[in-house]
Symmetry: C2
Subunit: 212 residues, 2 copies
DNA sequence: GTTAACATACCAACTAGTCTGTATGTTAAA
DNA sequence: TTTAACATACAGACTAGTTGGTATGTTAAC
């Protein structure tokens, strides 16, 4: 039987390799994940692997893109998207992220892009660009909502939506690192709340204590 | 001739190995840095390496500690430490960090601890703990100044110094990742400014635009 | 002559990638 | 409708190079 049912679809085997590759690289990074690991996890042999990918770097590239697209789809379909008020939509996004991270007990599996970004930026320049693009797309998506919220709620406020979005990405990535290292989501969840607080202050939603 | 001039001092060879190891791992990470790389950079042979370190994991452990101590010394000796007013000292620290990162053109070489943290957290559990300790020490040091500033300037403000310090560490680490991936310090420097802005808002130093 | 501080040669395990084989289908000429 | 030619999707053995680590010197200080 044929696996590829349509020209644009991935074969079952390739999809399995990609998904297991993503899983392993999210956990152990690029170098510590071997091609044999991926093959074993996917139940495919070397021949199968190199039929679909011309090198290890190649599967990493496709994995980053697939992971990015997956995240982007999750966010596009997320319930907060339907919130009409732009500022509420911004806060809704933060709630959604907290939900998808899970409780303080369950640890994040982390972001593949963040995991690979540091490890391969200097050693695999072509992958670096792919990671950068993925980050910029995420930032751009958030920046749109922030810009809409600013226009509607505080047009005179002194902040740049794009910079704010990049700050958010940085906080999330840094916090994910802290989560891995501390084996807990506490700091990650706390930091998202602090970012929310920063937004509230920028939008003038919270009274600031006067200096005594 | 003897290299070790005093019982507590590192021999010249070991110091060289450590420093070159730090340099390489900061750049390429743990797995992509080979023992041979370090030996070549330090001008030492394998025999010399394994005389001082019982394994690659061992030099990584010592490298993390040495790097952490080095950073901690730099910060202890930094000029901002002499600032009397605690809140000014907090802001002075941010200025110091920006200075030591360098201009937007020169890219950061990054933080060794952050570089290794993600890569080894799952694969080398004992190194994970070392990284965690290093982060907590940094956070603790900053948290002290934040607590002093809070006590002096805004005792009623609604923030926890320790959490704020951990947010700062997260922002710095995440921003460093963005710097590597974008080959620019722009986001890193911008994010430090945004953190400063957040602090100002928490301390009630900045007028918040009213909603229109 | 014992020990610290290396140097050199070497090894076993691993790793990315290749090569050849093969089963299964597809296409199109006869 | 048979068949030859070709393509796709793997399997599995193999290889060349790398890697962390070891075993065995050698040298010089004490």
């Amino acid at each position: 039987m044929l696996n590829r049912t349509d020209k644009s679809e991935l074969s079952e085997t390739k999809r399995k390799l990609l998904d297991e590759g993503i899983k392993l690289m999210r956990l152990k990074g690029y170098n510590a994940t071997t091609v044999d690991d991926i093959c074993a996890a996917a139940g495919v042999t070397k021949g199968g692997f190199f039929h679909y990918f011309k090198s290890k770097e190649d599967i990493a590239r496709e994995a980053i893109v697939r992971f990015g697209e997956g995240r982007s789809e999750e966010i596009i379909d997320a319930p907060f998207r339907k919130i009409k008020d732009p500022l509420d939509r911004v806060f809704g996004r933060l709630d959604f992220i907290k939900d998808s991270v899970g409780g303080a007990s369950r640890l994040t599996k982390g972001c593949l892009i963040g995991m690979l970004a540091q490890e391969i930026s200097t050693t695999h320049p072509s992958l670096r660009g792919i990671c950068q693009d993925a980050f910029l797309r995420m930032a751009e998506d958030f920046a749109k909502d922030l810009a809409a919220a600013k226009a509607a709620e505080a047009p005179k406020a002194q902040f740049d939506p794009k910079s704010l979005a990049l700050l958010y990405i940085s906080i999330f990535q840094g916090s994910t690192m802290m989560a891995k290292v501390s084996e807990s989501n506490d700091v990650l969840l706390g930091n998202i709340e602090q970012f929310r607080q920063y937004l509230k202050l920028l939008f003038g939603l919270t009274a600031v204590k006067s200096r005594n």
